[in-house]
């Protein structure tokens, strides 16, 4: 076969055979959160003193017990975005876009943009993780790699955040692992938080989103104002042992107070057997 003919045949083959360079599932699009899991906590908001199912340490419990929700009226807090690990659970719609290498067509990065959040970048270009002393941010530093059709993300360099919006903290030493899975129009993300300060075991949650082609994440200008008239320098908080609201959750739902204090044990199904033997607070 003449050399030119061979070359032409090869050229035609490369044009006609669709060979994906990688098994790359496309996560881009407009995603609407679905609240099948933990709707009361995620939308209306958690109740004070509800630490059930959280593998928290004593230090985390103390931080939550001394937390006063009024702190969020301080100028420094008003426009604070949810951190990269919590934002998945937040009530905001999500827009995912991607950056593609113009030559190799490989995906270099995904960007996750939620209402009221920062541009969360998930790097797929193999870049090195920065020094431990590099700045910590709300989005953290996130790298990703393909694991079959699953995108596995590792997030470090996070500012201190929270795992429940009733004051339960997550430290800036935490590492977050995420697994993104797409099944048709559904996106499921597993987040696994490891925190050497405030968690005694990994904290694992799943969250679902549904593709919504009519959605658009709107702009979200946030202004800092004096929300509440209070003396300068006052930081709302409770001294240990003085928070009057910590038993409300147990009373409202007729639960054992000890169970509402959380801890790794309360995550597991077998805890139900112990629950049945524990004294409960009378319902209000």
């Amino acid at each position: 076969m003449p050399r030119q003919l061979k070359f032409a045949a090869f050229f035609v083959l490369t044009l006609t055979i669709g060979v994906p360079a990688y098994a790359q599932i496309d996560f881009t699009g407009e995603w609407a959160p679905r609240f099948h899991e933990d709707q009361p906590e995620r939308v209306a908001g958690p109740e004070l003193g509800d630490y059930l199912g959280l593998p928290i340490t004593d230090a985390a419990r103390m931080r939550a017990d001394t937390w006063d929700a009024a702190i969020q009226t301080l100028p420094e807090w008003q426009c604070r975005p949810h951190s990269a690990d919590y934002i998945w659970r937040g009530p905001s719609n999500l827009h995912i876009s991607k950056e593609v290498d113009p030559v190799s067509r490989q995906i270099l990065a995904f960007h996750g943009e939620w209402l009221r959040s920062v541009d969360n970048i998930y790097y797929l270009d193999g870049r090195e993780r920065p020094s431990a002393n590099a700045p910590h941010t709300w989005g953290g530093f996130a790298t990703a790699k393909w694991n079959g059709d699953i995108l596995t993300v590792t997030v470090t360099h996070l500012k201190e955040g929270y795992i429940r919006r009733n004051g339960v903290p997550r430290s800036d030493l935490a590492t977050v692992k995420e697994h993104w899975m797409r099944h048709g129009n559904w996106l499921t993300v597993v987040t696994i938080v490891n925190d050497p300060v405030y968690l005694s075991e990994p904290f694992i949650r799943t969250t679902d989103y549904q593709l919504d082609e009519r959605q658009l994440v709107p702009p979200y200008p946030c202004d800092v104002v004096e929300e509440v008239d209070r003396p300068k320098g006052v930081v709302p908080s409770f001294l240990p042992g003085t928070n009057p609201s910590l038993e409300e959750f147990a009373q409202r739902h007729g639960l054992p107070l000890e169970a509402t204090r959380g801890g790794a044990e309360t995550m597991y199904p077998e805890y139900r057997k112990k629950l049945a033997t524990m004294p409960k607070l009378a319902k209000e």
Partner: protein, 133 residues
């Protein structure tokens, strides 16, 4: 049975409908949601903004002493879809507000449930959909 089915369908629709939510902090953690308080006074400042709007109202406490209330309302985008603009309320407007009291009494906060302006009987919170997250 039919009633339960309708309730289930409505609940499912509410969960599955795509909607924008603006919840930033936990209201349950911030306010006594099972209590209501009524205040009356003059607006001294209306901050129409995100994440939530605030109205500052000067009135008197139960002892007759002057007090400045901070009333939390919806975010600008959410209120805008209900017809509320930054021009809706002005300093000096006399208003009666019903809300959930804040957990920290020193803050004199309320979460807005209903508002009435006495000069023209303008109201918010009395019609379906006039709520905020």
């Amino acid at each position: 049975m039919k009633g339960r089915l309708i309730i289930l369908l409505v609940a499912a629709a509410a969960l599955l409908t795509s909607f924008q939510l603006y919840a930033h902090h936990s209201f349950a953690a911030t306010y006594f949601e099972d209590k209501q308080q009524t205040i009356e006074g003059d607006i001294v400042q209306f901050m129409f903004r995100n994440p939530h709007s605030f109205i500052h109202v000067e009135g008197k406490d139960e002892k007759g002493q002057p007090v400045r209330w901070a009333v939390e309302w919806g975010g600008g985008g959410q209120l805008g879809r209900q017809g509320v603009t930054r021009e809706t309320l002005k300093s000096g407007d006399r208003v009666i507000i019903v809300g959930n009291p804040g957990r920290n009494p020193a803050d004199h906060r309320l979460r807005m449930l209903r508002l009435k302006r006495t000069s023209d009987n303008y109201t918010w919170g009395t019609r379906p959909g006039e709520t905020f997250d």
